[in-house]
């Protein structure tokens, strides 16, 4: 599979050659690294003519040591008494320099400050305000995090965690320091790279969305069909039972981040559901799952059916199963699905889940929090759909109401999220940072609307974006984005009709556009192809605004007043 390209500027106070070598060999992205000479942090940040600022990068990674930023902190390492306010002033200056480059990069990542070598303070003085290294290091990191919190697209990474994951003995290398001016081992750098990748994936909407779970010996101890629900090991005064309960609690907490949960288990459906409903220690309830397949069929087949029903991409799915056989089967049949090897000991499950990070997200919108409910409503809609012969007959029963609105400030985060996360029904797959999006919106030629929908089963929230660039009576369809959850409900046709109506009223005859093919937007291709606008060879198209094509009298459409 073709990897996404990511450009990263590295600015550091130590020799980062090994870090760069490891990063370039990372397989998650195709990395383009722009390096600067080490120990030139302030010079590079203040030099607008530096070669690394010639082209805007995706990431700028600023890795400094505390003594390289704060001369006052450096005094502490020589056991001199210091003034905390001077440390804050040093950080203020450093941060003012960092802010100078924020327009040259989509995001800025900085590891929190740790010492560049193992340090043993005097026990009595560690947390002394004027002499304590630990006190002042905490102060520096706390102060920096407060400054970062006020900025968008700035992220502070937890390098203390990398240190503890490696162990101090293996994280530092005095030999590398004295020979190369590189304080850290490759194992430490690998931890850093892992977090950079996870954070960048979450910012780009590449985090996983659905967790499919087995039941026996995965969510509870024991085989329910054999021991009965009363004898399952969950909670209670039982070490394994407690581990399973903690595991369930952690899984449930993923729901708050918009992660969908589903079940795929080889069991009698009624037996398994009875256990979920009746066992008093079950943390996860049937309501927590957006879908389930509990039967004796092949799990790979069941998973495919569930993913199709939920309209998700396979690459957004994770499958947990204690059985190596089932894992191997799913891995082989569905290689795009992430199938981690669960630890052999269930007591390690909760910690394993915490360390997985594939569900990490950088922003949580209202839609994320209620995503499970939205998908459950979707299941009800699909069941209803099966009862009707024609699409229009089914849509009529939904009592669908579509609202097209001008972009409102409160809808900004969700709009940006849709723009950057939607893959399948996306005409141009434009990915913009918040700043770029803001700038685009402010341009006089830019017109953008959000699409909201609801029906008798619930509110979908904002599910689409439509945008036009209009210059001198010529319109260009920039974004045509619709959440895959609602595709096939005539909302996409309504969006086309609205575009035409808007242009007619503004005396624009032709709407130009171009389908930008990606690995994931074949759904969008099919839609525009169905409208006879594009084919496999011709991706540019023109829509005549005068042409009225669709009738949607069975759908209520609310539109904004035209300018």
């Amino acid at each position: 599979m073709k990897k996404n390209k990511v450009s990263l500027n590295i600015i550091s106070s130590f020799n980062h050659a090994n870090f760069v070598g490891l990063l370039k060999n990372n397989n998650d992205f195709e990395w383009k690294i722009n390096e600067t000479n080490y120990n030139q942090i302030f010079q590079v940040l203040n030099n607008k003519n530096s070669s690394i600022w010639k082209k805007k990068s995706n990431i700028t990674f600023i890795w400094s040591t505390p003594e390289s930023i704060s001369p006052e902190f450096n005094k502490l390492l020589n056991k001199e008494e210091i003034d905390n306010n001077k440390i804050k002033k040093d950080i203020d200056y450093f941060f003012s320099c960092v802010k100078l480059i924020k327009n040259n990069t989509d995001i800025i990542m900085m590891p929190n400050w740790i010492l560049r070598e193992p340090h043993e303070s005097s026990i009595a003085l560690s947390y002394s305000k004027s002499l304590g290294v630990e006190y002042n290091l905490s102060l520096m990191n706390h102060y920096l995090s407060e400054l970062i919190d006020k900025e968008k697209n700035f992220f502070l990474l937890n390098s203390s965690k990398w240190l503890s994951n490696c162990g101090s003995e293996y994280a530092y290398s005095s030999k590398l320091w004295y020979l190369m001016k590189n304080p850290f081992s490759n194992d430490f750098f690998k931890e850093a790279i892992l977090d950079i990748v996870i954070l960048y994936k979450s910012l780009k909407g590449l985090s996983k969305k659905l967790l499919i779970l087995d039941l026996d010996d995965t969510l509870w101890g024991g085989i329910v069909g054999e021991v009965g629900w009363k004898n399952l090991r969950i909670g209670g005064h039982d070490h394994l039972g407690e581990a399973f309960k903690d595991f369930q609690t952690k899984i449930k907490s993923l729901k708050n981040f918009g992660i969908l949960l589903a079940l795929c288990s080889k069991n009698n459906e009624s037996t398994a559901i009875e256990a979920i409903k009746k066992h008093p220690e079950m943390v996860l309830k049937m309501d927590d799952f957006v879908a389930y397949k509990i039967n004796w069929e092949d799990k790979a087949k069941n998973i495919v059916e569930m993913i199709n029903e939920l309209n998700l991409g396979f690459q957004s799915v994770v499958f947990f199963d204690d059985s190596p056989f089932e894992r191997a089967r799913v891995k082989e049949m569905l290689p795009e699905i992430m199938v981690p090897n669960l630890p052999s000991n269930p007591e390690d499950y909760p910690n394993f889940l915490s360390k997985l990070h594939c569900f990490d997200t950088a922003h949580i919108s209202h839609e994320d929090k209620i995503r499970g409910e939205l998908y459950k409503s979707e299941f009800k809609r699909k069941k209803l759909k099966q009862q009707f012969k024609s699409l229009s007959e089914w849509i009529e029963t939904l009592e669908l109401k579509v609202t097209i609105e001008n972009l409102k400030s409160e809808n900004f985060p969700r709009t940006l999220q849709l723009l950057n996360k939607t893959n399948q029904m996306n005409l141009a797959t434009r990915r913009l940072s918040e700043k770029e999006f803001n700038n685009w919106i402010k341009t006089s030629s830019s017109n953008l609307w959000t699409i909201r929908a609801k029906d008798k089963f619930g509110d979908y929230g904002i599910i689409g974006i439509l945008s036009l660039s209009i210059k001198k009576n010529s319109a260009y369809l920039v974004d045509f984005i619709l959440s895959c959850r609602v595709v096939g409900r005539n909302i996409e046709e309504i969006m086309i009709e609205f575009t035409k109506e808007y242009c007619r009223k503004n005396k624009i005859k032709n709407i130009n556009g171009k389908f930008m093919k990606t690995e994931k937007n074949s759904l969008c291709f099919k839609f525009f192809n169905k409208l006879n606008l594009i084919d496999s060879k011709k991706h540019s198209f023109v829509i005549q605004s005068a042409q009225n094509k669709f009738d949607f009298s069975n759908i209520t459409v609310l539109k904004p007043s035209f300018r």
């Binding site: 070598g21 190369m180 490759n186």
Partner: protein, 92 residues
């Protein structure tokens, strides 16, 4: 000792671009015009060897031991011979 060298090369290859990666064969050049390695790569390789010898064999090799014998380390084969030679007595 071959295992120590192999592990050290594997670790070095983690940071090298594909084209520069070392092939673990006795004839592969480490130093000189036929070598693809830069000085920083050699430093990394020798540090890896020093660490792996300590870890795997509990033997001590200093960076100075290596730099003082650099003429004997032109290829992977000669590096292995040097290490075997140096620690011959410790083994016994």
């Amino acid at each position: 000792m071959d295992e120590v060298v192999k592990k050290s090369i594997d670790k070095l290859n983690e940071i090298l671009p594909k084209k520069k990666r070392l092939i673990n064969e006795d004839s592969t050049h480490l130093i000189g015009s036929k070598s693809n390695l830069e000085s920083i790569d050699l430093v990394n390789l020798f540090i890896n060897i020093e660490q792996n010898i300590k870890k795997e064999k509990n033997l001590s090799l200093t960076f100075d031991d290596i730099t003082n014998n650099i003429d004997r380390l032109k290829t992977i084969g000669s590096l292995k011979s040097y290490l075997k030679d140096k620690f011959k007595n410790e083994k016994k």
